[in-house]
């Protein structure tokens, strides 16, 4: 009798059932809030033919980028795919299929996928290459395009804290796409820094309900920083 305890004890168990040619929805923005150990486990397993839906594709050395090295990704749906040498090569050679999707549309597609909304209209991308093949419709004198939602066989998510029921709390901008991805997976796997007992999280501070979470694992994180920018005394306002 497991009840609502979602905790698993190995990354192997966390990704049990992952197969070639599946679709993954992956949280994170750049390397911030990446489910980095789950990604490493996929590299270890060697699953191939993957369709990956995520805002970015990591860097050459980190995040989803490491799956490109072994050509595990067949198709990437993302809003921005710089910072990775292998990416451009594989895209140019036709080995990698890429579907560039505006960031806000991508976020909304994940949310809609999790929320049972099959499609929605957005002005984003109207009149651009993104609109090709998509319905255009006018509402109140403005043009919008129809975008369909996305769901995945697996969602891979990084959160900060969870109770064993899978209720999640994210931290700062590591939240980004993670709660959205979590709603859109048939099997949602979440790795976190801290696991507490049910009742220890204030129900009002929970960012995402455990109803979306299937498996939960405690991990250790590298948290690589892409652009380490520090305040210089002589120009303190630059960061703003």
């Amino acid at each position: 009798m497991a009840g609502f305890n979602k905790v698993v004890n190995s990354y192997q168990e966390a990704l049990a059932g992952l197969e070639d040619n599946m679709t993954l929805i992956v949280g994170g923005f750049g390397l911030c809030g990446n489910p980095e150990n789950l990604i490493k486990e996929i590299k270890r397993i060697g699953t191939t033919g993957l369709t990956v839906v995520s805002n970015n594709c990591g860097t050459t050395e980190h995040g989803l980028g490491i799956l490109l090295f072994d050509k595990q990704i067949k198709k990437m749906v993302a809003s921005y795919v710089g910072e990775n040498d292998n990416f451009e090569q594989q895209m140019m050679s036709g080995e990698l299929d890429v579907e560039l999707t505006p960031q806000g549309t991508l976020a909304e597609k994940m949310r809609a996928g999790g929320a049972g909304i099959p499609a929605f209209y957005t002005a984003t991308g109207y009149g651009t290459p993104v609109a090709e093949g998509k319905e255009v419709r006018e509402f109140n004198g403005k043009k919008y395009i129809l975008e369909e939602s996305v769901t995945g066989d697996f969602a891979l998510v990084k959160a900060y804290k969870a109770d064993t029921f899978g209720n999640l709390v994210f931290r700062k901008t590591a939240r980004n796409f993670n709660p959205l991805a979590a709603t859109a997976g048939k099997i949602t796997v979440v790795e976190v820094e801290h696991i507490v007992e049910p009742g220890e999280l204030d129900p009002d501070e929970i960012h995402l309900s455990g109803i979306y979470v299937d498996r939960l694992i405690k991990g250790n994180f590298e948290k690589v920083i892409e652009q380490r920018t520090i305040t210089e005394a002589k120009n303190p306002k630059q960061g703003a």
Binding site: F29, G30, L31, C32, G33, N55, A78, S79, Y80, V81, G82, E88, M91, L100, P102, Q103, G104, T105, L106, A107, E108, M110, T122, A123, T124, G125, Y126, G127, T128, P129, V130, K143, Y160, F170, R171, K172, T173, A174, R175, N176, F177, P179, L180, H207, K223, V224, I225, E226, Q227, R228, T229, I230, T231, E232, N235, P236, K237, Q238, G239, A240
Partner: protein, 218 residues
């Protein structure tokens, strides 16, 4: 003389109003934050999920979980709020951001903008730029007026794939502050020491010049 990057940022900053929520793109737009006029408060939105971006951190403050849309480490100002990416773009798409400043490769007389892709050359993706141009009412595009070879970037029709269609009304280049309406460019201001003729010559699209065009002041 053509404006420096800093001067472009400085002129854009004059458009800020007290209480504005502002999204600043990467590059010159980011510099706008350095020139917020005295007596005016603005809050910076970063589309990866932060409203109320603060200064860059000190060494001690660096936090891998706190970055901006350019993936730089940042801090939070007092009164900041954090949210997920869907919520962030709900703000943007829903028109709740008061001013968006972003760069471009080209704009045209119809208010079209191309800023994310050079086929065969630069194909990294649009990030949040398409959402920003489609969602904001008040956008200022910052760019150089022409290429180094004197080829205008203010066109009759954009040649590169569009980021947005008919959504740009204001452009600040290194030479001029221009409004787009009724299918034409309108010259509002010129950079100090830059003549109207010079601007006309480097503007491919039809440029309307009404009376004396004032120089920008800083």
């Amino acid at each position: 003389m053509a404006l420096s990057r800093e001067q472009i940022a400085q002129r854009v900053a004059q458009e800020l109003q007290d209480g504005y929520y502002v999204n600043l793109g990467i590059g010159i737009p980011t510099l706008v934050a350095n020139y917020v006029p005295a007596g005016i408060e603005v809050m910076l939105q970063s589309e990866n999920g932060l409203l109320g971006m603060g200064l860059f951190p000190t060494e001690d403050e660096v936090d891998a979980d706190l970055i901006n849309a350019g993936k730089q480490t940042v801090t939070m100002a007092a009164g900041a709020s954090l949210f997920d990416s869907a919520e962030s773009f709900a703000m943007i798409r829903g028109g709740h951001v008061d001013l968006t400043v972003l760069g471009a490769f080209e704009v045209d007389v119809e208010g079209n903008i191309a800023s994310y892709m050079i086929p065969g050359k630069l194909i990294k993706g649009m990030g949040g730029a398409m959402d920003l141009v489609a969602g904001a009412d008040n956008i200022i595009v910052t760019m150089t007026h022409a290429s180094k070879h004197g080829v205008s970037k203010l066109l009759n029709q954009c040649t590169l794939p569009l980021t947005g269609k008919g959504c740009i009304k204001k452009v600040l280049t290194d030479l001029a502050f221009i409004e787009i309406k009724n299918g034409k460019f309108h010259l509002l201001e010129r950079a100090p020491g830059v003549s109207v003729d010079e601007i006309v010559k480097l503007t491919e699209g039809e440029l309307v010049v009404n009376g004396d065009v004032p120089e920008m002041t800083f």
